[in-house]
């Protein structure tokens, strides 16, 4: 074990890499002004297609989290439009059960066991514990935590808590997985391990991932596409397609190809930061 994925068949099987895949998120000219007057996003447009692994990269405070929350349907845009063309839209105008969210902190309920935490999304839909057991255990197994189903969050290490959070996000089998700097608080070794696990998950299930990060190296390792954002006001600066080899492993991390990718991304990020300062 140790891989995040064993036999999950989330969403649909990965579509063969055709250039025109179905649109999953269509963000059009979105602006967000907070009640205190902060202009967090201004005229941000972003199209996300099924099966993409997108990183939102940018300096801290540039509106990455705000953008991700709007994509999740949490907090409305002040102007512009957001649509989820491939999802069933519920009465509140939000995609129903198609979005999984992983926060920077594990965000687990400390009074529930690991099982209870992963069960939550199903419980909120009225699926009782007994009915949900197989699904929950399957997801816990896939993150290597089946033995910890009855443990409480405080008994787990930071990396394990994050795995629980990922299992919870996947238990509803969402089409879209949103991750907001999920591994920023973890040590380097754990982070690399979880990066590999998320990558494997993505490759095997064809889920669409939007991954917020401020790390050039993380984004260059994971993504098929990197959206570099600039600050004040937050908007898309450049949109980079990243050619990635089929297999990414330890050797890839030290390859010249990876280094060149990092260089390209780092240059784009530098330009984004400079454009915000000038």
């Amino acid at each position: 074990m140790g891989s995040l994925v064993t036999d999950l068949s989330l969403a649909e099987a990965p579509s063969s890499v055709t250039p025109q895949r179905r649109l999953v998120v269509a963000m059009n000219n979105v602006s967000k002004v907070f009640s205190n007057g902060t202009l967090a996003l201004k005229g941000m447009s972003l199209d996300v297609r099924g099966g993409e692994f997108i990183s939102l990269l940018g300096p801290s405070g540039c509106g990455k989290s705000t953008a991700l929350r709007i994509i999740a349907g949490l907090g409305a845009a002040s102007s512009g439009s957001i649509d989820w063309p491939s999802s069933k839209i519920n009465s509140h105008g939000l995609p129903e059960g198609d979005v999984g969210f992983v926060f920077q902190e594990p965000t687990l309920m400390p009074w529930e066991t690991v099982f209870g935490n992963v069960h939550l999304p199903l419980k909120l839909r009225g699926v009782r514990k007994a009915e949900a057991r197989d699904k929950v255990m399957e997801n816990l197994t896939s993150v290597g935590l089946a033995d910890f189903a009855d443990a409480y969050p405080r008994e787990l290490s930071g990396g394990m808590k994050m795995r629980v959070s990922i299992a919870r996000a996947l238990v509803t089998r969402p089409k879209l997985l949103l991750m907001d700097e999920p591994f920023a608080a973890l040590d380097e070794i754990t982070r690399q391990k979880l990066n590999d696990d998320v990558l494997t998950l993505w490759q095997q299930t064809g889920i669409t991932v939007i991954f917020v990060t401020h790390s050039v190296y993380e984004s260059a390792y994971l993504s098929s596409r990197i959206v570099v954002m600039r600050a004040r006001p937050g908007q898309v600066f450049t949109d980079l397609e990243i050619a990635q080899p089929a297999v990414r492993d330890g050797a890839y991390r030290v390859s010249e190809f990876y280094r060149a990718n990092c260089q390209k991304v780092s240059d784009a990020l530098q330009s984004a930061i400079q454009s915000a300062e000038s």
Partner: protein
């Protein structure tokens, strides 16, 4: 003694052993023995002072005299304890239900909270003993007057702690519930109420102690006599008659009641929180 739960996982982070701290049995015994020995020494010192100085019973009875009075006066003291206890427990129970319900209603709307705030502040800052005479006038009988006093005192720690608890829910968890389309009831039941339990328990422990204090103080104010009187009246009565052993016996009863209430509320708090909350977990470095 430790409980070793090692993961079979090869993952770098999950291969950690989780140690569940347990107290060593020696330490556990000492935790009980030390306070008991200290208490026994205190009682012995009290007895010694009384005998060594030949202090008469009507000035300072020894612990032995108090213990004897506990039995000889049991026909007056135990019914009185029962009256005080009933007032305390009922006031606490009503305060629990009322405080929690009102807290849940208050946090639904900021305007409601603002509108109610002057009343809660007035009732909270006014010393309850000062309104006791007023309550005595309006209440149908002394018993209910005492209950209202004890209720008013116990109500606010529960209300304010519960409001605080319901409001300090992790924002990301609220977002998560919103993301999964949870309705108001689900959010209340599965998130807000469990999250506020540590605050509620703190309020419960405070309120438990306060309701006993209020039941006694209010009875002092009422000064009611007769069949249905509680321990406070028996204290006053013993004071007039200079029956000091009985006074001490009544005090011991009140003290025991206070300890029992504290123990019970602490136990309930431990039962609810010990699995997950930091306050109930022994710190170990």
């Amino acid at each position: 003694m430790t409980d070793l739960k090692a993961s079979a996982e090869k993952g770098t982070d999950s291969a950690v052993a989780v140690l569940l701290p347990r107290m060593s049995s020696n330490e556990k015994v000492m935790q009980v023995v030390v306070p008991l020995v200290a208490l026994a020494l205190g009682i012995a010192a009290w007895q010694w002072i009384v005998t060594a100085n030949g202090i008469p019973k009507y000035i300072l009875p020894g612990p032995g005299d108090a213990a004897v009075a506990l039995f000889t006066d049991s026909s007056t003291l135990w019914p009185a304890l029962w009256v005080t206890l009933r007032i305390t427990v009922m006031a606490l129970a009503i305060a629990l239900v009322g405080g929690v319900t009102l807290a849940i209603i208050i946090v639904q709307s900021k305007w409601l909270e603002l509108a109610l705030s002057p009343f809660t502040v007035i009732l909270q800052v006014t010393p309850i003993i000062a309104i006791a005479p007023l309550i005595l006038i309006y209440a149908p009988d002394t018993q209910s007057a005492l209950m209202i006093c004890a209720f008013l005192v116990a109500f606010f720690p529960i209300l304010s702690n519960m409001v605080q608890g319901l409001k300090s829910v992790d924002h990301n968890l609220l977002n998560l519930f919103e993301l999964y389309g949870a309705n108001g009831w689900q959010t209340l039941l599965y998130l807000k109420i469990p999250a506020s339990m540590p605050y509620f328990m703190a309020g419960l422990r405070i309120a438990g102690g306060l309701s006993l204090i209020a039941a006694v103080v209010a009875e002092f104010a009422a000064g009611s006599a007769g069949q249905g009187s509680g321990l406070a009246f028996r204290l006053l009565e013993s004071q007039y008659r200079l029956n000091l052993p009985r006074m001490f016996a009544a005090l011991i009863m009140l003290c025991g009641t206070g300890i029992a209430i504290y123990g019970l509320t602490s136990f309930v708090s431990w039962l609810v929180l010990h699995r997950w909350h930091e306050s109930a977990i022994r710190r170990e470095n």
